[in-house]
Symmetry: D2
Subunit: 369 residues, 4 copies
């Protein structure tokens, strides 16, 4: 767990590491008084570089979806359990239902005509739809249609519930800052109605009608908005933005992250920053054959393939990924992507947390920074 | 020019206002030494409320356009004169070609197949198109189509030129911070090529392809942007945003500025603030029959009717306005709007200057603030 | 661990809570695939209000100091162990050497003429001196004297070591964001020289000479400073600021937090915010007999009595505190202070983290907010 | 007034510059309709570099002070005239009582036991004391002693009056943003009491007691402060800061602006920015024999020698300056300083305006930027 050796000089000075009775007694007295010496564990609490307990891992969509469907048959959704959501539990995190130390990621499943009741919590949440449609999430009374490719927000302390209007089940990915909120002890939770407050099914939410116009702000919305007021970032716009970047690159203009690699960040239009205080969301598109340099970043990410096929290398793993597959990249683990076909990936991360606390660092192989 | 009387006590103390020879000599000595006493002119340099030298005024589009057309016949456009622009000269501003103390507003006219050569300046500029199409403005090499209803940016120090691709002339409105820059002594100017650097005529600019996606930011554009990177705010989006606000109001949801009055601000998507450091731009739509309360604001504005008919009251003027008419509202003059038909208005102002310097105040009749 | 009952409806729907074989199999399959259902543990991951694993606790200075002195006899300080620091280990945190989930607090002890070698880490650190003097902490080559009442900074990634110039030992309190950095996986660590780089003993550091002038900024220091450039906040100024607040209160002017309760925050003079991105530091002074209303705050704090005697109530604990005693207040636990004598307290907390992530809430008994 | 020739091509195209009758008629029609063509005056409204109407100028303290004393004999101070202030009227500004287009600078004179009555205005003001003491300025009811070397604030909309407690007259320099406020039409003015509201004479103001502690903020003052809450920046701290910079330079550490040239900026401790939204204030100290490189800056400044002797070069002027002398440097005029003795200078400028509007540029001879 550590690169630098702890206690060399200190141990040497202590007669080959054998503890004197006085030292043994001292350590016992420490423990009795709820104290703990730094010098015996420095290397554990302060590593040379970040060494996450979380491990790189992959979850396969073609395994997740059938499990979600089985829970659809066996487990009702309703008040108390609230959501039929199945969390990615990182094998390094001791059984906690957490993808990374800061990120909760789950597949949520709603059967035909089911309703997930309304509640609200301080934790920030979003949904991303890798396939399907027919569910509306009702956020503070505003019904928001969920469709393939859409990225949908439920910032902290907004009441929200979901209902499926169709005869087909629908599954999607939830992302929250639950592990962060749990660690920081910042969570509040409140039940709302057991149904959703509005069962209407408009194709566009009121929030979008007010806010999803490029570079345009309603005069009724000039106050500061900690979180983005855009309820849904529609696939149509995401796709167009990515496509245009690659076209501009072909036409000879700077537009992409690097050759063959387009990327966008979802932002809060009222300040240009991340959509929510704790979660960043991005979309990436690689041309067939493109690959990225190896990168290390402080902070953890979850990637989901939206379309296409390619390899992702994370530390010493190399995974062939297909639609819906989810990968966790812990802090400071090197990663790279290699697209076999054109490859679309959704990514979310705790980068706003890392940056707001000034812990951000990046290392890109072959580039100085 | 002042509400509070200057020199009462002081004058009384000076023997009925008659100057002693010693005082006369003192004032002469002041003048000789480039000095000036405050006590004789306090009421002029410090008024109770803002008292602009600029006056409320209206320019009629049906008079402006023929004059512009005549200049199109008589005056060539090219290097040296640079632009066939005719500025609104506020009658209060002593013959300066300025609409207000901070704002330059002009009608610019480009004949068939003409080119206005490239240059750049520290002054910020925009164009607004009340009718017509067929001109491209080329901003730092990016050709931007100009069409009815579009609001187009040329932030400071970007090279820009225009060319008319058609057999018809085209006229539009230019807005700049020239009087402010002149007063602050901040202007820089540089000639570019005598032609435009790119005569291609795409319907959408590269800047829009990268930036005009709602809530979406390219990963290649994460650096800070003092001014908006969106080259053109298209009428399609402005119109939709205004229409949706009025629809939401009908559906019973808060969305408008006030009953029957929709409004949007054009913003810099990278920070949610104004499009440029010195100029604010907004669009307003009033339902037929709607009217606004009387407002006073610190800072000056120019309004242009885009469509419809209505009255504007400014101080003791009441003007019936029609398409293209331009009105200047000086600082702190009360104004209100009354829509006869549905009424669309473009507005620009120096509000970012006033707010950044913390001089903003607003008074709305019937509301405290 | 939770106020709201989980699974009521869901369990009822599942035949009295007895799991069907299918459900048992589903849960087993979840586990095999590193998945975890939300509905069985919602109440644990999302509590109604913050429920910290950390518990309110007190450490007594008259117990800490002798233990530190014993370690001074038994444990050498030097490369590897680096520091003779003994951490407060909150009994609720499973043996981790952490005062709260975000804060490391320790007593550090340096014997006569000892040197704690230089190193640097991404974690932010400070020292607070409750008694004694004679040690210099050398921060990036700048020797900073440590004296009673001083609050001293070592922001992340600055090399630092300490040396004791005297024939007496010295002990002080260290505060760091180690648990936060550990959880977020953001830590970097690097050894420096085994000695300190400058053994000179000026009474004032170079950083103070440049930066500790009220409202004054060196023209050579106009760049942005994420962390405060003031190396030492001297007791002289803290004491004076607190004293003046109480005098102003006596004179009838608003100056204190509330009647009889003066308080200051240590700030970064380049932006007026907290001294470091992750740690807030404050000083409080209560008049003899004063008491504070009960408060709950999101985020955790550590308090140390600097001088005087009084009671602190935290949740259902009431402790009589004396000089040097340290108390932990976990997130959302109610606390209040009652001063027997004039009571001076140093406080540090993770409030900058909570606020930057927009999780802050406060509840003060008897006041709305 | 312009470097680039206007109308070359255009004039050539118009038959040797002789206007046709049609063009003459067009220009007459423009005038009748309050319009003004750009092409005939582009070089005046848009210069290659800033060309201020204000000119470099010097006012001599040994001339100012006797004139102020004579006005003390002849002109009473009281309601109406309000202040016995004599403004520097830049010879380039057409008789306006303005030092530069944005800055008002005056010598104010208060006789023994006189009172200048209270008023307030939106304009921001400060006082700087080059010699003398015995006057208190009462700012929003807080009496602030004025002493040699002090820099004192009266931000916009604070009531303020002055009274002289002694048997000696006192004179000082006032700086305000009056010309800027006049141009922007943002001024408000209101009379207060004809006396000052508090005739007590504490040596330190309440504002200082609360706020002038280095890096320390009262918990009762956490709200945002647009302007600095420090009423007086005392000479003691300014002098010490400058002295320490030169000592640090001698000791081999970076601290000064450049060799032999120390400098500080007065700042708002709540945000690290300028003391007020529109005015920057700095103090400079040059070692005897030191000189600065030639600099051009966008924006205008006023300098006053506080102590010492030296030359200032502004454009093609070279002035030998002594204590109290005031120099105006208009925008973009090159300036440099050469100290004969150790030379202390106070400087104020409109730099916050220029920077907030993103018009700032600097050119330093011999350095790129």
């Amino acid at each position: 767990m550590t690169d630098h050796n702890t206690m060399n000089d200190v141990e040497n000075a202590m007669e080959g590491g054998e503890q004197s009775p006085e030292l043994t007694q001292l350590y016992a007295d420490f423990e009795a008084k709820n104290l703990s010496p730094l010098w015996t564990q420095l290397g554990e609490v302060m590593t040379d570089v970040p060494r996450s307990k979380a491990v790189p891992f992959v979850w396969r969509w073609n395994e997740l979806l059938p499990l979600a469907a089985r829970s659809g048959d066996l487990v009702p959704v309703g008040r108390g359990g609230e959501r039929r959501a199945i969390a990615l539990a990182n094998p390094g995190l001791n059984g906690h239902p957490y993808a990374t130390p800061t990120i909760w990621a789950a597949i949520q499943y709603l059967g035909p005509h089911e309703t997930a009741p309304e509640h609200r919590h301080a934790q920030n949440a979003f949904r991303f739809v890798v396939e399907g449609e027919g569910v509306w999430t009702v956020v503070n009374g505003d019904p928001v249609a969920m469709r393939r490719g859409d990225f949908l927000l439920t910032p902290g302390w907004n009441f929200h519930g979901h209902h499926n209007q169709t005869d087909q089940p629908m599954a999607w990915v939830d992302g929250l800052d639950v592990p962060l909120a749990d660690h920081l002890d910042v969570g509040f939770f409140e039940y709302g109605t057991e149904r959703v407050t509005d069962y209407s099914t408009p194709s566009v939410s009121r929030a979008e009608r007010l806010w999803a116009n490029p570079g345009i702000r309603p005069l009724s919305g000039l106050d500061s908005h900690v979180n983005s007021p855009i309820a849904a970032y529609r696939w149509e716009y995401t796709d167009r933005a990515l496509r245009e970047q690659l076209l501009l690159e072909e036409e000879g203009f700077p537009a992409t992250v690097e050759q063959g690699h387009a990327g966008i960040r979802f932002t809060n239009p009222t300040n240009g920053g991340d959509v929510m205080s704790t979660l960043r969301a991005e979309f990436h598109r690689l041309r067939a054959g493109a690959q990225t340099p190896s990168r290390r970043e402080v902070g953890s990410s979850v990637w989901q393939v939206f379309e296409g096929r390619g390899e992702m290398v994370v530390a010493d793993h190399t995974w062939l990924l297909e639609k819906g597959d989810l990968v966790v990249v812990p802090s400071w683990e090197p990663w790279e992507l290699r697209a076999e076909t054109e490859l679309d990936l959704f990514r979310f991360s705790d980068a706003p947390v890392i940056e707001r606390l000034n812990f951000d660092r990046t290392y890109v192989a072959g580039r100085e920074r």
